[in-house]
């Protein structure tokens, strides 16, 4: 039956075209199937697993680490520092790092395909293209959210257990506590999605990561060089400020409410994703 002496499995090909058993002749591409494929892709790369591990460990571990340091030098803190000490925000400091890891990974899940040429294989399987972007965003955001939310909860409880030493601990029922924990996970996840959108637009790892770093880490300090009035007027609209407030217990008089700021941040993320989708659909791959 097999006409291919060097290929032991060749018998499979010699059936009539498209009618081999076990493979339905027309098994269409669906969003569910693309989700499954993107799930496999996410976990089958070493760099992805590392980034996710770093994001989780920094989110869960840095809060408690800083809590230990703070409690150790509590008696050296000024009265003001002790009065305004926020056990919630101190427990969640890890987000500075987890946000970086998730942001870089958000860029890489799409630019890694462009730099290796994998995107061509991907788009040959899913030529309508947009399901690829939706599936990447869904798989990545669900994984990132669950990891960061779990990490933030661990950080919150462990840190507050450490804060009992000087009786400055709070519970998850304290004002703003749960909102800040949830908000941290939402903000970091949103950052990751924003980065996937940048990566899709720029199709290059370096460009994607630079854009992300400039917008989230370079713009805020640059703004301080402007006259105070101007800086205060612009500041609440920065993605990092608008989005970050939902993850913090401290309310700033110069910015939006936590959820109001987060809504604006979501608006930025959606605008970036729609631009990315439009470019992905329109451009030659």
């Amino acid at each position: 039956m097999s006409a291919l002496p060097t290929a032991p499995g060749a018998g499979r090909l010699t059936g009539s075209a498209g009618a081999t058993d076990g493979i339905p002749a027309a098994s269409p591409v669906t969003l569910g199937r693309v989700l499954r494929s993107e799930w496999t892709k996410l976990w089958s790369l070493r760099s992805t697993r590392w980034s996710l591990a770093v994001a989780f460990l920094t989110q869960a571990g840095l809060g408690p680490l800083f809590a230990l340091l703070e409690m150790g030098r509590w008696n050296q803190l000024s009265l003001g520092q002790r009065l305004f000490f926020s056990p919630i925000d101190h427990s969640l400091v890890g987000f500075h790092f987890s946000q970086l890891a998730i942001g870089v990974l958000g860029v890489l899940i799409i630019t890694g395909e462009y730099s290796t040429g994998q995107i061509r294989s991907t788009l040959l399987a899913v030529p309508r293209r947009l399901p690829v972007l939706w599936a990447k965003l869904i798989v990545f955001s669900v994984v990132a959210f669950l990891l960061i939310f779990t990490g933030a909860l661990i950080a919150f409880f462990v840190s507050n257990a450490i804060f009992t030493e000087h009786h400055v601990n709070v519970g998850l029922g304290a004002p703003h506590a749960f909102r800040a924990v949830l908000g941290t996970a939402l903000y970091v996840t949103g950052t990751g999605m924003l980065c996937t959108a940048f990566g899709t637009m720029l199709r290059a790892t370096a460009g994607g990561i630079s854009t992300f770093v400039v917008i989230l880490f370079v713009l805020p300090p640059i703004l301080l060089l402007l006259p105070t009035g101007t800086a205060d007027a612009i500041n609440p609209y920065l993605p990092s400020v608008a989005g970050g407030s939902v993850g913090s217990a401290l309310l700033s008089p110069h910015s939006f409410s936590p959820w109001g700021g987060f809504a604006l941040f979501c608006g930025y993320v959606i605008a970036a994703i729609l631009t990315a989708a439009w470019l992905l659909k329109r451009r030659d791959a």
């Binding site: 006409a3 499995g9 059936g15 075209a17 498209g18 591409v29 040429g117 994998q118 030529p127 030659d284």
Partner: protein, 305 residues
Amino acid sequence: MIEVRGVSKRYGEKVAVEDLTFTVQPGVVTGFLGPNGAGKSTTMRLILGLDRPTEGTATVAGRSYADLPAPLHEVGAMLEARAIHTGRSARNHLLALAQTHGIPDRRVDEVLDLVGLTHVARKRVGSFSLGMGQRLGIAAALLGDPHTVILDEPANGLDPEGIRWIRTLLIDLAREGRTVFLSSHLMSEIQQSAEHLIVIGKGRLIEDTTVADFVARASADAPVRVRGADPAALAHALTAAGAAVSLEADGALTVTGLAAEQIGELAAADGLVLHELTPLRVTLEEAFMSRTHEAIEYQPTGVPV
């Protein structure tokens, strides 16, 4: 069946493909020939929906590629440029592709076995040789058991045994009634597996014919080597009869434009003694090169005026 109708592709000012029209029929292997840079890869990318044509349409099974509900079952393609993430294992690469169509995992193992990569299935693609990467590309193309197979320069990086293997595979696929379309810049590679031939040069169609016809026409134009007692008189007579004659270092003449029979009759009529009359075989490679060369020479430079 692949149908390309009036397809042009311009990247800014640069014309990659100009008004191409051809059909690739099922049941035979069709070779797609052209020198490097002729537009073969671009044409394949246009058929596969990776690039959008500036004008015209390209369809597979009557639909544009992007409209196929299950593209991997309809078309299996391997592009020349690398298209695989180097950090993933061969098996996971195929698995992720299979899952988009709900193709079962065991089919992944089957195609790995078919291309002889089972023993390295769990190794990272980055560690693969060029030939192994090529085999993995072929495995991906066969994953959905497609009706149409499109391969861009499949022999690249394969050893002679691998080239033989792929030739047999392609002929078998065509015999099963599939459409097989493969590109190459080497005629010798195509002539052993293809029956039909599409030749392009500078993005334009030069030939759309059978390999047999192409060979026949190439041999008809083949030069003839002639040696005689009086080369000067012989050359004079042949030139007068409309042939092009050139004198070789050993005193022989290379004659083009007349068949060996005509030259012999002409010499007999003029009473000229012949010592040798040898029709020279033009290799397909040469025929192909001269055809594409002409096409390039007589085309405008490609920049619209």
